[in-house]
Amino acid sequence: MSGDRIRGAFAGLAVGDAAGWPAARHRAALHAPWSRRLHRELDTFAEEHGVTTLPVPFALNQPVAPLRVGPSDDAEWLAWTALTIDRPRAEAFRGLIDPQPGTAGEGAASALGEAGGGPVRARISVATALDNLAKDVEPPASGHDNPHFFDDAAAVRAVAFGVLGRDPTPDAEVTNAGDGLLGARAMAAAVAEAVASGSAAGAVEAALSVLPGGTAIGHNARLAVQAARAAGDPFAAVPALDAALLDHVYSYGVGAAQTVPVALALAEVSGGDLSRAVPAAACLAALADSAPALTGALTGACGGLGAIPEGWIAPARTLAGCCLPDLAGLDLIELANDVTEGIA
């Protein structure tokens, strides 16, 4: 039934988000700034001394809970989207810029503003879009006049639109354009099909139908699907996907033209099996910030909540508030229930 698949899409995204190594980095944002400064200094020390024992996020004199396996940025932005989905999109984003009247941050010209519980952390596309909105640059220019118009921030949010069968375009255009916008449309189309039919092949077909071949994301999506089919298995496809999609030149790994194709390819070759697809996505180190989350959303929607390994559900369902502090403690599966009831 579709309710279980909607819950599966949300929980699957959170599981994938938690499975990628960058989640620990994002969650470390909950600790005092000096702990991250010390982390950077340890990196420098390792570089200077030729020490190969790389530092990891740590909690010194601080609670260790944020550093346990758990969801980070992508799960929080999905939840925020679901919570604000009926509001005009630019207006919803503006709520992240301006502090609420009467709060401590009111009037501050802070880069990302403070939304009640503290400063918001976001991808470059979203940070720049908020700056654009603050300067009265409206969508679609807010997402277009943007150095990271191509990233997958909107593709992550599109999962919320996809489970409801809604068009993610008005939301995506606030922060993205070009491949970033197409990535959102592809994810929404794939998730909608997966929720409706449970078929990974059908979901991939739905996504490809909205990705023009002459674009980078359209070209890459077809290349990735072919590479994964040739490999025959998600884990076996990892080196082929790396070779086909990644030039390892640019410094940020959240390009929709790479992460969305990986999610589509792994969802299809796994037959919609989250337990095989997500670990493979997490093996692509350069894409591990969001490709596992997108892969988890697609395969979670295919198999439903019941197909997600039980041991992953408890750690992944509760948001940490590392990007959107107001959402700390929110239960993503309960939110998915609300979304399901809203359409029942």
Partner: protein
């Protein structure tokens, strides 16, 4: 003034702006003021801007108005790729991404689309020769530079190249500074980041004239704050046109203002110098700057080693 004189002024201005701005790249305007006051003297050599402009000129000399993106891709494969042994020094993301795409067997326009840096100012920095080649015809200059851009750029990166080529074409044809910037705007869509940013910097200059806050106001108008890389074409091109307008088309005034803005200062200086030099000719470029411009070393593009921008300008002018 002859086309040859303007062509020399353009490429000497480009090389001088590139060299003057190199030490100011990625510095804040206040740090530049702290170190130099106003940066007016060339300290070292130029960078990728000059060498890639020479490479672009060689494409035009060979193919003329018949140049296609396939010709450009073939030249990359023949003259750039084989010379890369180890690091590709001095190259930006867009060139490196393009090289990887070509190595994978892709063809334009995908070679410019598949890497994330299609909006780089890498095309704008080398667009001047296309303008020289089309005096008084900004539309043709823009069409030609786009053939180059389809190999390594996309979207706003191509528009930045079109704007600079169009501006140089107008300046070579003798247009006044305001008309030069109008020509740039005429060859990019009004509904583009590049166009909006050029309009924004013009508005700032109209409001601020040469007031003390003009540098900060220009930053506020077009600089992307939440992004660590500075080679975003809509930003660099708009700042270069701002410098050209603030300098009233004078080469030294335009270039020194341009490099005082920091960010991608060498490219901003190179573009401002090329556009201003095209208008003022060789004698418009300060003699002490021109004296510092020698043959390029090929440190970024070995294939152009030993070429002097003055000779390249003459070759372009001979083809007119």
């Amino acid at each position: 003034m002859t086309f040859r004189d303007r062509a020399r002024g353009c490429l000497l201005g480009l090389a001088a702006g590139d060299a003057l701005g190199a030490p100011a790249e990625n510095l804040t305007p206040s740090e530049i003021r702290r170190r130099w006051g106003r940066l007016t003297e060339i300290e070292g050599g130029g960078t990728d801007d000059t060498e890639y402009a020479i490479f672009a000129a060689s494409l035009l000399i060979r193919h003329g108005h018949a140049l296609t993106s396939q010709d450009v891709a073939a030249a990359y494969r023949r003259e750039i790729l084989p010379a890369i042994a180890g690091p590709m020094r001095g190259a930006g993301f867009s060139e490196l991404g393009t090289v990887e795409a070509l190595r994978r067997g892709l063809e334009p326009p995908l070679t410019g689309l598949v890497h994330a840096h299609g909006w780089s100012d890498g095309l704008a920095m080398r667009a001047a020769p296309y303008g020289i080649f089309c005096p008084g015809d900004p539309a043709e200059a823009a069409r030609l530079v786009e053939q180059d851009g389809l190999v390594s750029a996309a979207g706003e990166g191509i528009l930045g190249g079109r704007a600079v080529a169009g501006a140089v074409a107008a300046a070579i044809g003798g247009a006044a500074p305001d008309a030069v910037v109008d020509a740039a705007l005429a060859v990019v869509p009004a509904d583009s980041w590049t166009s909006r940013n050029i309009v924004r910097v013009r508005d700032v200059l109209d409001a601020e004239a040469a007031g003390p806050g003009v540098v900060e106001a220009l930053h506020e108008a077009v600089v992307v704050r939440h992004y660590p890389w500075t080679d975003v074409a809509p930003e660099a091109v708009a700042l270069a046109f701002a410098a050209f307008l603030a300098g009233g088309g004078d080469v030294e005034a335009s270039v020194t203002f341009g490099v005082s803005l920091g960010r991608d200062a060498d490219t901003i200086g190179a573009i401002a110098g090329a556009v201003a030099g095209a208008g003022r000719g060789e004698h418009g470029v300060p003699r002490r700057w021109a004296g510092r411009i020698g043959p390029v070393t090929g440190k970024c593009l070995p294939v152009v080693a030993g070429r002097h921008v003055r000779d390249v300008a003459d070759e372009l002018a001979e083809r007119l």
